[in-house]
């Protein structure tokens, strides 16, 4: 008995060290490469930071944050970003899951379909943003052409990107369109890891289509689902290039999001300390949300 206990103890210690060794290279590299710059960013936000390293920076403590919380443009950017995440994430998840399920049935043509649905993912943001700008152009754009001249659903061209009421729509569309293939891909991988015999056993017990989906697929996909939810939310908050290229934050600042606002303040106005403060607040927010998501939806597969 005691002998057995001794071996177990050593095994525990051995495994502890093994575990540390496994994670150390990645963590260390990451520490240097990402975590140090993040602290640098925190630090920057406490100063009226001058881009020129040879000019001393003026310490202003939390002034940047005080200014930020009184800035109406910040709140516009914040609400736009949240709206973007709230609208694009569910669509990507649901549509991606739908397509993944449909393409997991072993039917003909699957490989081709998987490829076609994946194509949007592999095009660069810069290129597709410009492309969508053309598609949603007021005159001569494909979308208006289809809606007006082909389907006769509207009478006059919609000024998609030129009016504050509709400017975000092309941006949402682009975000969803580009993300479906990605979520599909990951759901496919998740679906593939569900052992077939679980379905067979349930079928023998008399369960059919929907029940299989609800009782087996969904619960087993939970870890994947939570993972995707967190990643897509983070990605949604990080929306940047599409807004920068399609509208530049306009018209009249109505499409400003946190990243474009930070970019403008830091890179165009040279308010680097202020930009860093925006980044810090952004980070705290996204981190909190993702932690909450993980906690409340903690996976419990078996």
């Amino acid at each position: 008995m005691i002998f057995q206990g001794c071996t177990d103890l050593t095994r525990e210690t051995r495994r502890k060290w093994a575990g540390l060794l496994f994670v150390l290279p990645g963590m260390l590299a990451y520490l240097v490469w990402t975590i140090y710059p993040i602290f640098n960013g925190f630090y920057m936000s406490l100063f009226k930071w001058n881009l020129n390293p040879r000019i001393p920076n003026e310490f202003i403590g939390l002034s940047n944050y005080v200014k930020l919380f009184q800035d109406p443009q910040f709140y516009v950017a914040l609400s736009n970003t949240i709206k973007y995440a709230v609208i694009t994430v569910p669509f990507q998840l649901v549509l991606g899951l739908l397509v993944a399920v449909l393409l997991n049935r072993g039917k003909k043509g699957q490989t081709l379909f998987r490829l076609l649905y994946y194509l949007p993912v592999i095009t660069s943001w810069v290129v597709v943003s410009v492309l969508f700008q053309y598609l949603f152009a007021t005159r001569g754009g494909m979308i208006n052409f289809l809606l007006k001249d082909v389907l006769h659903l509207i009478k006059t061209d919609i000024k998609w990107l030129a009016q504050t009421s509709t400017a975000m729509i092309p941006i949402y569309t682009l975000g969803i369109w580009k993300g479906i293939g990605w979520t599909m891909l990951i759901f496919l991988a998740g679906l593939q890891s569900i052992p077939k015999q679980l379905y067979e056993a349930a079928r023998i017990d008399g369960a059919g289509g929907w029940k299989l989906f609800a009782k087996i697929t969904m619960p087993l996909l939970r870890p994947t689902f939570v993972f995707q939810l967190v990643m897509l939310t983070i990605g949604g908050f990080n929306v940047f290039l599409s807004v920068l290229i399609m509208t530049g934050g306009g018209p009249r600042n109505s499409t400003q999001v946190l990243n474009t606002y930070m970019f403008k303040e830091a890179f165009e106005y040279f308010h680097f300390g202020y930009g860093a403060a925006i980044a810090v607040v952004f980070f705290i927010m996204v981190f909190t949300i993702s932690q909450l998501q993980r906690r409340f939806l903690k996976s419990d597969p078996y």
Partner: protein, 418 residues
């Protein structure tokens, strides 16, 4: 034996010394590869400079235009910048303000005093901040009014408008609904935006302003009589439907394509319009006049690049030699052939300009052109002005309110830098 050895050592030292004595300066530019400018630079300009200055070697680094600003920012923070940079004129005050550019009027005072008056005033003014000059103009441009002869003749006109009144009259005549679907498909005027780059010709030709001549005041200038009238006029033209939608953004047929395809009768364009339009429509006819004159005369906006030396450079004197060379009469003249407009007064009436298919009208316009206020806060001022015009034209705010509000915001920006 020992003498021989000593001699060899001496020669070796001298050789190394000579190698070290060759300074290498890096020149950052945004000429696109495969362009005429780039080929000229690498095939002729730099080799000839190096021949004339055997102790200086120039290494040119091409930076994609859309990245240059990022490269400069990241480079400044890390202390890694080229020695000489071809920099967009509106960035100069901002980088001067953070002490990244060499004030050439101080450091190379004697030389500067000699060359200063050779430059066109508009371009030269873009190098100035707080009383000092942080580089020299390299190339310039402005925008003029292109008019479509075919569309003009269809309504009985034969020449581009000379005055604002003519412009307004023509714009009305030239706007048509050709296919009867209730929407205009031919417009009198089209432009791509409402920022100062597009609207300064309007503002200043109406006698308005943005900042005062010392670039320190906005009150009474941004919201001056002329500024108000300019904005009101453009709004009225837009409301009447004579201006294409592209002016409020939202994409659509670009100004150049629309001009060539006989959809837009008049547009604003810079000298790059010619190669671009002809690239797609080799037989296009392009006609240009200076911007229609209002109460302020015919004023347009100055664009272009300056050539600057960075404070982090360890070869400032050598860099200055290169800068002087690039702004010399011969080199400026050579660049005319690859469609880079010169910044020297001495070339305004030179044969090469007069015989140039289209530079003449630009040089004419340049004599009265206005620079976007050289101020480190220009990016903010630009966005405020853009927003003010959008508020009026897109969102129907009152003209005076909009401009008064813009004054308030701009004064705050100016205060930041006092």
């Amino acid at each position: 034996m020992r003498m021989r050895k000593a001699l060899l050592v001496l020669v070796a030292i001298l050789a190394v010394g000579m190698l070290l004595a060759v300074e290498e300066i890096t020149f950052w530019h945004t000429y696109s590869t495969n362009s005429g400018e780039y080929n000229l630079l690498t095939a002729k300009i730099i080799p000839e400079f190096e021949k004339a200055h055997p102790d200086i070697k120039v290494k040119e680094t091409q930076v994609n235009y859309n990245d240059m600003r990022q490269r400069l920012i990241v480079g400044t923070a890390a202390g890694v910048l080229g020695d000489v940079i071809r920099m967009d004129i509106i960035w100069v005050p901002q980088f001067a303000e953070i002490e990244m550019l060499v004030p050439v009027d101080i450091v190379f005072a004697e030389d500067f005093a000699k060359v200063k008056d050779g430059f066109l005033p508009g371009p030269l003014s873009t190098c100035e901040w707080k009383g000092h000059y942080y580089g020299l103009p390299l190339d310039t441009n402005t925008q003029v009014l292109l008019w479509n002869r075919k569309l003009f003749e269809e309504v009985g006109l034969s020449e581009g408008p000379k005055t604002m009144d003519e412009f307004i009259k023509y714009a009305k005549l030239l706007t048509k609904d050709k296919n009867g679907d209730g929407q205009n498909d031919q417009w009198g005027y089209a432009d791509g935006g409402l920022g100062p780059w597009n609207t300064i010709p309007w503002i200043y030709s109406f006698g308005g302003h943005i900042l005062d001549s010392t670039n320190q005041k906005a009150e009474g200038f941004v919201n001056s009589e002329g500024s108000i009238r300019a904005l009101q006029t453009v709004k009225d033209l837009f409301e009447s439907g004579f201006v294409a939608d592209t002016i409020i953004g939202g994409g659509g047929i670009g100004t150049f394509e629309g001009y060539a395809e006989n959809i837009y009768s008049m547009i604003l364009a810079g000298p790059w319009a010619w190669p671009i339009i002809r690239g797609q429509y080799p037989d296009a006819e392009i006609n240009a006049v200076v911007f229609p004159a209002g109460d302020g005369g015919s004023r347009s906006v100055v664009g272009g690049e300056n050539i600057v030396i960075t404070e982090t450079s360890e070869h400032k004197a050598a860099s200055w030699e290169f800068v002087k060379y690039m702004t010399s009469h011969e080199v400026q003249k050579a660049f005319v052939e690859v469609s880079q407009m010169p910044v020297l007064k001495s070339l305004v009436e030179d044969q090469v300009i007069i015989e140039h298919p289209y530079f003449h009208v630009f040089m004419q316009q340049l004599t009265t052109a206005v620079a976007r206020s050289p101020h480190p806060g220009w990016n903010q001022i630009n966005d405020i002005m853009d927003q003010a015009w959008q508020d009026v034209i897109v969102a129907d705010y009152g003209v005076k309110e909009s401009l008064d509000y813009a004054v308030e915001l701009i004064e705050r920006v100016l205060a930041e830098y006092r």
